[in-house]
Subunit: 732 residues, 2 copies
């Protein structure tokens, strides 16, 4: 941001560029690169895009792309909207006249960029240029990105940093600029932040009035978690309707990597589609079970080992250098955990690819689930070990920890320092609380800082490295002139900015979503240990929302708008964490409610059946309450849902009124019919009554003419009916 | 059925009658009755129905009704179908031309009768005659019923009684004749019967190979319950689509008894609608909690008391008359339980009415839930007491049962006969099994017999009573002539039959559904006690299906067809029973697996935490498996669902193709556009390049003309790029 201010107005124009294609080449494949480059611009040109090329850095080109004719763009937009309607995303059809359709529902920046991006990346069969960065014939295409609107970004950050809450309009603005997928993340975090105010305030009161492990806090907190999760489900639908993207996740974007076994005819559309047997996929999905076991064993044993070492050093070891040695487990975890996580994530990616999903959505869901399993273990296992192994079984387990004496044997002066002291081992009741505070305060702050600072350092380092390279080349005398030296003066500032943006990372919204969901997990699972958790999160999340906005604006390429109607399978993770919360919280309350020493003053007094009973009751109460909350929330109507129903109703109403009008014209008023008929049929019936040739049914219906005669005959029957005295009648 | 055969052909004609209105009057209100009768036939005439009146019994009239003009009926049918489409029941709109619409989708008997019934009973505002039997001004109208088609019924019963399975066509036939609501009951029972074959066969094998309380049987049985419940959910949707009634339960039939607080404008349709505050209803619904408690206490204490008495008499008492006294509790239960159940059902009805639901559907759901609570207690509490009170706590509880000594004090010869024998009390391990056999065999057979025989006896008794009355009147000399004496000879047989049908009861399908659901409960909850349960049910249900068909044909009035797209909230009851089954079965297996004597040979060895752990594991396994089964079944596609999607797709596709054709006419082929444009723009751009007055953006885009120039310029950049040796490049 610093240098932008000085260059003034020139910063503001993006030259009408819609997308920039970053084309990299190496010094060895120049001929090839030139041929492929021609293919690239020709493909872009053929789908109606205007192109301009400029030099990027020494070995890359920047191809600027914009839509050549707005007529063409409108055609694409109309096609996209019509497709939405066919698949049920829109409840009313777009007007048949294209211009009218665009005017009725004006184009947002995000929709424009999304459609142009589709034009560039869609396969040729779907009417696109079929450009797939870094793949196949397009391996030289490094990235395709839109340009930041710096002026807008500046105002955005400024506005946000001075407001406490984001309004619905703020979220709409994000949606209009960055697309629904990112807008859903901000909407979710904002919603979560607003909800957090309650546990923050209640948590502070509970901390001072109720103390730790208060059953009241546990119940209120569980209730809050249920309401938040269920409310968000409701809110999500509402937002999807507001943004016109409901059911958009059902429009299936086929994965390019999908490998089909044969082609079959789609029973719905009648088109030929590629197909992969479901049973085969199911078999491959079964591999998830050994995968989950692997993750648990690999990450679990690392965490458990470090946990053991830490306890050994902090609780048993009492030799020299203890102050330094206590950091040992942290160092081991910090260095090995990221490596293991990366390995596991790679395996997860391969496994998901092997499962061979047909659509992007299904692939992403499967991947998200695996990522959640990995993160669940890395985030919560440490606390689980403390709460459910160290405390209840500490006195049994700890003596065996002398296997870890190897870690500090070098420093110990004599054996005694490596064994449990004669007084016997006592459990440190404060360990659990400290650990929760670490995860909910320290780790959150560190994490937030990392998110902002690391990319900054990375950029700085990268630019330093390039400087160094240039200097070295200059010293050798082989230095080529800086590409920027050839820039047209009036484009120089603009090109410098684009070169800068081309080097930025791509923003991935799932990372941020995961962070929020895992944070929610601490609240749901362990906040009963330390009720100030909510308060800490309120501060953290206010900053988080702003830091994310800053990150998107400054440290990342402008994200390509994508649509979504949900935060995806993270929602299932939220439900799952709420459920597990009902188990852990009740167990923690039962075990620690007497200030960390179990119900009877010592952890040994924890009895199995009471613990299990507490957990069972809590779980069933949770399920019942969740069911009730769901029923109550399903009763909530909302403007969006009403609008949707109204539109659908109006379309059909109109159609039916047209047909009914025709109908009533033909039929005439209903009331007159019987009388008219009576007059018409009178003579006929008179005949029929005397004609022996008509059948029994006709004669049956001809005995009384019209309802007046029926009434008379009936009155006659009633008159001739029994007329006993009232007493007699009652018996009957 | 007996006398029908003799009268031959005359039985077969229903005289083209659509409905019969049974009008009753008393001897005291003759004048009033005649006036009201005129109103009745006039109301019927005004909605286009032809009427004929004949005498019923001495104090009633039979009004025969048929549609006067088929044109009018078609109009009504078209309106009904159009309404279906507006509310989303049909995915494609009915053709605008009425005749075409009727021909495309021919009219079934059930649809015809349903629509005529609506014509008679709908309010005048909705275009009906507004006749509400037994209410308000129509209090003399006893019933409105269609006539049986005896010839058809005979063939139906004959066909069914000689076939093992019902085919999809058999179910379609029921749907076409009796409507979807009853067809859904038969479809459910048929589906359940087919599924039962597995537990029947497996149960027999388990009985001989695995013995009682086998964990393997328990697991397989739970799995079967889950699959059946989830499969039925899937099947239900499929049937609803097949029968064209999907979402029909969302067409809200407003309850006539609904009391509104104010009128508001419906946000969807814009019409004024009556409204009752949701919060107020919620408050009233809270009364369900004390109601459920009441039911539990009232029924529970009766059942528990009789249980106590039974145990006292059979296990403690050893005086004279024991063989007779053991029947005492059965007699108490048999006489008091129906009374209490009736009282509770009355309270439930009043409570449901007080909750003031707007729609028939919501009212029925609320009522069904209450009925289920009552039935759950009466059906299963006895076995629960044996399994979870008598066996584990028997030795503690039984000595206190001497309070029941009062029941047989009169027969006892000395005190000893009323106290626990010196040998101490031992639990009777066979009691549980005997009880389960009683409920799953004896009670089922008795129930089935009652269903068929009781109505028959009732009819016989009623006709005897009338005979007796007539005779008495004849003896007094005041006997009026039998109404049948005035019948026209050619109508006599027909009228006799109608008089007979007018006296029959109304068929209520929920009673039969409830029976099936409760039967499923025994299988899910307790069949591990006696694995032959499934076998017993297979026989019972084969008969049940036929008995129900017979009942509908012979012992009940012909049911008025009604639509439904589900078996309603009984489905929730099924899910609930499956869930509870996972708890009871695991507990039973743990407690009794060592032949009814607990894990270590004596019930005292049952440990709390092991029991709870078994139940918890079982419950979570159940929830996981259910989730997996749901996912798997949701993946199943089906012809019906495909048809629905195909229709929706076709409608939209057609619309969009029309608009896209217009679009492409205007636009011309996309591929040519850039080249054409290039030629057109060439001179303009040349100008722009030299004109200083154009702005920076225009100049930016004018530097390269078309993609060919971009390609050339790009190739130039690549050419001038760094050309170091490959080794150097790699470092870079």
């Amino acid at each position: 941001m610093d240098k932008h201010g000085s260059k003034g107005q020139a910063m503001e124009t993006n030259m009408g560029v819609d997308y920039v294609v970053h084309y990299k080449f190496t010094s060895v494949d120049k001929k090839d690169a030139a041929v492929q480059f021609e293919k690239l611009v020709s493909a872009l040109g053929k789908v109606g895009l205007a192109t301009e090329v400029r030099q990027g850095d020494r070995t890359s080109l920047l191809v600027f792309v914009k839509v050549a004719s707005s007529e063409h763009l409108y055609g694409e937009i109309y096609r996209s909207r019509a497709r939405d309607w066919i698949h049920g995303v829109q409840s009313s059809a777009p007007p048949k006249e294209m211009k009218e359709a665009i005017e009725k529902d004006p184009l947002t920046e995000a929709e424009r960029l999304r459609i142009i991006h589709q034009l560039i990346t869609n396969s040729e069969g779907d009417g696109g240029a079929g450009i797939t960065p870094k793949e196949g014939q397009w391996k030289n295409v490094d990235s395709i990105f839109a340009l930041h609107n710096h002026q807008y970004n500046k105002e955005w950050i400024k506005k946000w940093s001075t407001s406490y809450f984001l309004s619905a309009e703020d979220l709409d603005a994000i949606r209009n600029r960055l697309g629904e997928r990112i807008a859903f993340y901000f909407a979710f975090t904002q919603s979560y932040f607003s909800f957090l105010l309650f546990p923050a305030v209640f948590g502070v009161s509970a901390y001072f009035l109720l103390g730790h492990f208060s059953p009241i806090y546990a119940i209120v907190n569980a209730f809050w978690c249920i309401i938040f999760t269920e409310y968000w489900k409701h809110q999500e639908v509402e937002l999807a309707i507001r943004w016109g993207v409901r059911h958009v996740s059902q429009i299936e974007n086929r994965r390019r990597e999908f490998k089909h076994e044969k082609e079959i005819r789609d029973p719905v559309t009648g088109e030929m589609v590629t197909w992969f047997p479901v049973r085969k996929r199911l078999q491959r999905q079964l591999l998830q079970i050994p995968f989950a076991a692997c993750v648990l064993v690999a990450l679990g044993s690392l965490i458990a080992t470090c946990f053991g070492i830490e306890i050994f050093i902090s609780e048993i070891y009492n030799g020299p250098m203890k102050w330094l040695l206590v950091f040992l487990p942290t160092i081991i975890v910090s260095s090995f955990l990221p490596i293991l996580t990366t390995i596991m994530t790679t395996i997860a990616t391969q496994l998901t690819t092997y499962e061979n999903y047909e659509t992007e959505g299904a692939h992403e869901t499967a991947m998200t689930q695996k990522i959640f399993v990995i993160n669940f273990i890395t985030s919560y296992l440490g606390i689980f070990l403390t709460a459910f192994v160290y405390v209840p079984f500490g006195s049994i387990v700890v003596p065996y920890l002398d296997v870890f004496s190897v870690t500090c044997q070098a420093f110990a002066e004599h054996e005694k320092q490596l064994t449990v002291s004669q007084d016997g081992f006592t459990i440190n009741p404060d360990r659990l609380r400290k650990q929760v505070i670490y995860f909910t305060v320290t780790a959150q702050v560190v994490n937030l800082a990392m998110e902002v600072i690391v990319p900054y350092l990375k950029r700085r380092g990268f630019s330093k490295f390039r400087q160094f390279q240039n200097d070295r080349a200059a010293r050798r005398g082989g230095a080529l002139p800086e590409p920027s030296e050839n820039d047209h003066p009036e484009e120089a500032v603009f090109l410098a900015r684009v070169r800068n943006e081309a080097e930025l990372d791509v923003y991935d919204v799932t990372t941020d979503l995961r962070e929020m969901v895992l944070q929610f997990g601490y609240l749901s699972l362990f906040s009963v240990v330390w009720p100030l958790t909510g308060l800490s999160f309120v501060f953290n999340d206010w900053l988080e929302l702003r830091a994310d906005a800053l990150k998107i604006c400054v440290e990342m390429k402008r994200p390509t708008p994508a649509r979504a109607d949900t935060i995806g399978s993270w929602l299932d993770s939220l439900s799952f964490l709420t459920w597990v919360g009902s188990l852990t919280t009740s167990a923690l309350v039962y075990m620690f409610s007497n200030d960390g020493l179990g119900p009877d003053g010592s952890p040994e007094a924890i009895t199995g059946w009471k613990l299990l009973l507490a957990v069972m009751i809590s779980e069933h109460a949770f399920l019942t309450v969740r069911w009730l909350v769901r029923v109550a929330i399903s009763k909530l109507d909302s403007p969006g849902r009403q609008k949707e129903r109204r539109e659908r109703y109006a379309v059909r109403r109109k159609y039916i009124e047209e047909s009914l009008e025709e109908l009533s014209k033909k039929q005439g008023p209903v009331e007159l019919a019987p009388d008219e008929e009576k007059i018409d049929r009178a003579s006929l019936e008179e005949d029929a009554r005397h004609a022996g040739e008509s059948n029994v049914e006709d004669r049956f219906w001809a005995r009384q003419r019209g309802w007046r005669e029926t009434a008379q005959v009936g009155a006659g029957y009633i008159e001739r009916g029994p007329s006993e005295d009232p007493k007699e009648k009652k018996i009957q």
